[in-house]
């Protein structure tokens, strides 16, 4: 049996190098086909009529005019009269027509009568929402009351993050078509190729085995595309009514922002108790959150630093807003801002450098304290912390104030369950087949790297086939679990396939299979490297039937594990006259165990920092209290960061001894956790006052300055 471990550094041919993504040429040329790009023969266009009210009873639905329109092939009522609408944008009726303009006309021709009901979209204040605020839950650790009495200093602060959306550039949607009555073909934009059929089977009363799911490329998910969603099921129903014709429903941009994504808000009042030397001894918090009708759980506070004495109270608020979905590192960016903000405020009160305060308490982080120590040192060097840091409030004259902030974060990221088939063909080509998906993180490329590295053959000898539920099932891409799962199963399968090849080749080399190794395009005898055959010659011994081996995760050996640490530091400028915050530089130092592809790992971190700048400074799902509708369901007022907004970004991956032996660990979530905290802390350091709520828009910055005594006092 193979020894299931990753190769030592000196034996790696591709693993850990900087390798360009294998589908890069398809993406830059427009050849890459996303679900949105699939045009099927005879395809109909589906449009969904959505509720304009946040809460209402449907009195009647009149589809007669739409049904009579030329070109309309199917109409389906999703929510029957008498039922209640729960949020603005909820799906009520759908139509399918021969082209998009006709479908739009038909959707407009549908008449719905509503009886309006009271709604709530306020998530910022539990006292303002009556029964929509659930009874709070309370938790204690140690003896907080006693610890606060003994504390030499206490500091109180308020920290919040508004609700934001996922804003995937490729909106949610699918093309569904019946092949005969029994079989359904689904092209869908999804983070879970292998999980969709099972979820469609129930509502469509069709065996999962009859449902084929395909996806070559996905234009962003970020946690919002584990579906299928109601519109996908509706598409299948429309297709059935239209005699099986393909029905394409891709959400319009407004629907995408209203109903297909939401990161829950979080707000917290925090009191910290500490000793004069900076040691934190007590935590007290009162927090609230929402996530739609289900309310919202507490973020994991205090975050990373396990304060020995805690008293926490959390209130969930129910809102008539499209439900929350997992947004990259669910609950962590919220917990991170609340905790790191409070720690930075404590440092300011103690007149301590927060770098020293964090180090003073670093053992509270537990097992990864040494990793954080090492990462903090590297990050500080990269941003010039010691030279640039100043006590809170930039004392320089002029309206532009500069400041530094820091934060640390964690995530799990152990590999999910994953199966794959590894095939070695007699001609020497290799295939990896897996029912996984590439969210743009480089999954395809990682599979090729792992297989090619194991076989010690060139990258382009390995053909990677993913994005089809007829391939061996692999987990959904969430929680940074993909890279660990898919690399581990591919490594195990490739090692087993290599063993099978060794068995075929050994007799011709006059050696035992166990004495063979793959080395630079050859199979050779370990004890006598002069005895070797080329990879192609070796594969010719396979015979007519290729070797196919199932690789699995979980399985033997430490190929993946869980738990990473990261440190970030930011350098910002704030104009205290305009309230505009500018990013000068952000440094991210991140560990993720063994790095499979350095280039794409760095891309993940850059991307996370940029998303972080966007949610720290620009993004906000603005709900109108009176109408219950989202006011900015578009991309001119729901703002993302542009290329000029991000400053200089520096990424440092922790690799080598102490990291590699932990196996491959996910990276999608961790680097997106800290940006809110580092930027907020840097702004506080620059202007001398905490701007409590993200995004740090000019109005919020000016309001915070005003409360402190006006912009002219900014440096005091």
């Amino acid at each position: 049996m193979a020894d299931y471990k990753w190769p030592e550094a000196e034996k790696r041919t591709h693993l850990g190098k900087s390798i360009s993504r294998i589908d890069g040429a398809d993406k830059v040329s427009g050849r890459a086909k996303y679900t949105y790009d699939i045009n099927r023969p005879g395809m109909l266009y589906g449009k969904v009529v959505r509720s304009k009210y946040a809460r209402a009873k449907i009195v009647s639905i009149d589809t007669s005019a739409a049904e009579k329109m030329a070109g309309v092939k199917a109409v389906h009522v999703i929510i029957e009269p008498g039922s209640e609408i729960r949020w603005a944008g909820e799906e009520i009726v759908a139509v399918a027509a021969v082209d998009e303009p006709t479908a739009e006309d038909a959707a407009r021709a549908i008449k719905i009568k509503y009886e309006k009901l009271a709604h709530n979209v306020i998530d910022t204040d539990p006292k303002a929402v009556g029964d929509n605020a659930r009874p709070p839950s309370e938790q204690t650790v140690g003896d907080a009351d006693k610890a606060f009495k003994e504390a030499e200093v206490t500091v109180e602060g308020f920290y919040g993050l508004t609700s934001i959306t996922h804003c995937c550039l490729e909106s949610h949607g699918s093309i569904t078509e019946w092949e005969g009555d029994k079989n359904l073909l689904v092209h869908i934009s999804t983070q879970a190729v292998s999980q969709i059929a099972g979820q469609l089977a129930g509502p469509l009363e069709t065996p999962a085995g009859n449902i084929r799911v395909k996806q070559d490329h996905i234009g962003g998910g970020f946690g919002s595309k584990f579906g299928p969603d109601r519109w996908d099921i509706t598409g299948a129903r429309l297709s059935k009514k239209a005699g099986g014709k393909p029905v394409k429903i891709m959400l319009e941009r407004d629907a995408e922002l209203m109903v297909a994504g939401m990161r829950p808000p979080a707000y917290a009042r925090v009191k910290l108790g500490a000793m004069k030397d900076g040691r934190v001894v007590a935590w007290e918090s009162e927090s609230w959150s929402s996530g739609g009708l289900g309310g919202g759980g507490s973020p994991p506070i205090p975050y990373v630093f396990v304060v020995p004495n805690q008293k926490r109270k959390h209130t969930a608020i129910a809102t008539n807003v499209g439900s929350a979905r997992a947004w990259r590192a669910p609950a962590h960016p919220q917990a991170c801002l609340i905790t790191m903000g409070a720690l930075e405020d404590l440092a300011a009160k103690l007149n301590m450098d927060p770098y020293d305060l964090f180090l003073k308490n670093i053992d509270l982080t537990g097992a990864r304290a040494d990793v954080y120590r090492e990462e903090m040192k590297i990050a500080a060097d990269l941003i010039g912390w010691k030279a640039k840091w100043h006590p809170r409030g930039d004392k320089n004259a002029g309206p532009v104030k500069r400041g530094l902030g820091l934060s640390i974060h964690t995530w799990g990221g152990g590999g999910h369950a994953s199966d794959c088939d590894i095939t070695i063909q007699p001609d020497g080509s290799v295939e990896v087949k897996m029912g996984t998906q590439d969210l743009g993180v480089g999954t395809r490329t990682a599979l090729r790297i792992v297989a090619a590295d194991t076989f010690a053959i060139p990258l382009d000898s390995v053909n990677v086939l993913i994005g089809d539920n007829r391939y061996p099932a692999s987990g959904g891409s969430g929680g940074s679990t993909t890279i660990g799962g898919i690399s581990a199963s591919t490594r195990r399968g490739s090692l087993d396939a290599l063993d099978a090849l060794f068995a075929k080749v050994a007799p011709s080399l006059g050696a035992q299979p166990a004495d063979l190794e793959a080395f630079q395009g050859t199979i050779r005898v370990k004890s006598d490297p002069s005895k070797s055959v080329t990879w192609k010659q070796a594969c010719a011994k396979i015979g007519a039937t290729p070797i196919t081996v199932r690789g699995k995760n979980p399985g033997p050996g430490t190929l993946t594990s869980s738990g990473v640490g990261g440190v970030q530091m930011a350098d910002v400028s704030v104009d205290v006259e305009t309230g505009i915050v500018k990013i000068n530089k952000i440094v991210a130092v991140q560990d993720c165990g063994l790095v499979v592809n350095k280039k794409l790992a760095e891309s993940q971190c850059y991307g996370a920092l940029i998303m972080g700048v966007a949610y720290s400074l620009y993004e906000e799902k603005v709900m109108d209290v009176k109408t219950g509708r989202m006011l900015n369901p578009n991309m001119e007022f729901y703002k993302l960061a542009g290329i000029a907004d991000i400053g200089e970004l520096v990424v440092h991956m922790m690799t080598g001894k102490g990291y590699d032996e932990r196996g491959v660990i996910g990276l999608g979530e961790p680097p997106v956790v800290s940006p809110g905290a580092v930027i907020s802390n840097a702004v506080a350091n620059a202007i001398g006052v905490r701007v409590p709520t993200l995004p740090l828009t000019p109005d919020r910055v000016l309001e915070a300055l005003e409360k402190k005594g006006g912009t002219n006092n900014a440096s005091i």
């Binding site: 086909k33 790009d37 995937c168 234009g219 962003g220 319009e252 969210l439 743009g440």
Partner: protein, 211 residues
């Protein structure tokens, strides 16, 4: 009488109202007909529709014919009628740049231009940047610098960068930031895009032909 009522079917001598009455066709039924010419303030103006009209488009040096309603955008015509799906529909209202194409040498958000407006103009989409199987050096620079993640904004970005470099072959970092502000990325690939543009610009300075 309104201008509309004075409209003459091109060459037919029938007023529009008479034509519709005679043919018994209601306005909501799509039908194919050419444009008509109306005089507005003394100047001739082309009027298309309300049904489908033929449109002829010159895209990447190749002529395409399609039949679309006048309200159909160039982006929709490219994607739905011609299966040229490189340009993406994202914001659909001229903010994000994912649908960027080049029309007569100028960058255009194809979601914000009607298909019928594209007639008689030279349109370049991302599909037109490759020469056979050979990538444009700028496309290669996008790959080398990993200026893409999910890749949905990438075609628009590539086209925008191409036009930017055509206009400004030797940009400073500040000019890159300013010149490419019309395209948005959600995954966060701007660091790669900056590097890709710098590499492609350097390639040009090195004297290599860059398309």
């Amino acid at each position: 009488m309104s201008d509309d009522e004075k409209v003459k079917e091109k060459g037919s001598g029938l007023s529009r109202r008479t034509f519709l009455k005679a043919s018994g066709i209601s306005l909501s039924v799509p039908l194919v007909m050419g444009h008509r010419v109306v005089k507005v303030a003394g100047a001739p103006v082309k009027v298309f529709g309300p049904g489908k009209v033929p449109v002829s488009l010159l895209i990447n040096g190749k002529k395409y014919q399609a039949t679309v309603e006048p309200r159909v955008t160039l982006l929709e015509a490219l994607r739905h009628e011609l299966d040229l799906t490189g340009a993406k529909r994202v914001c659909d209202r001229g903010t994000c740049g994912a649908c960027t194409v080049i029309v007569d040498g100028k960058l255009v958000y194809s979601c914000s231009m009607l298909a019928i407006e594209g007639e008689g103009k030279a349109i370049t989409t991302v599909e037109g940047l490759m020469q056979g199987d050979r990538l444009h050096p700028l496309q290669q620079a996008f790959i080398d610098n990993d200026a893409q993640q999910c890749g949905f904004c990438t075609p628009g970005f590539v086209v925008a960068c191409k036009a930017f470099l055509d206009k400004n072959p030797n940009p400073t970092a500040e000019e890159i930031n300013k010149g490419l502000g019309g395209n948005l990325c959600r995954c966060g690939t701007y660091v790669g895009v900056r590097a890709a543009v710098a590499q492609a610009a350097k390639g040009r300075r090195g004297g290599r032909r860059n398309g």
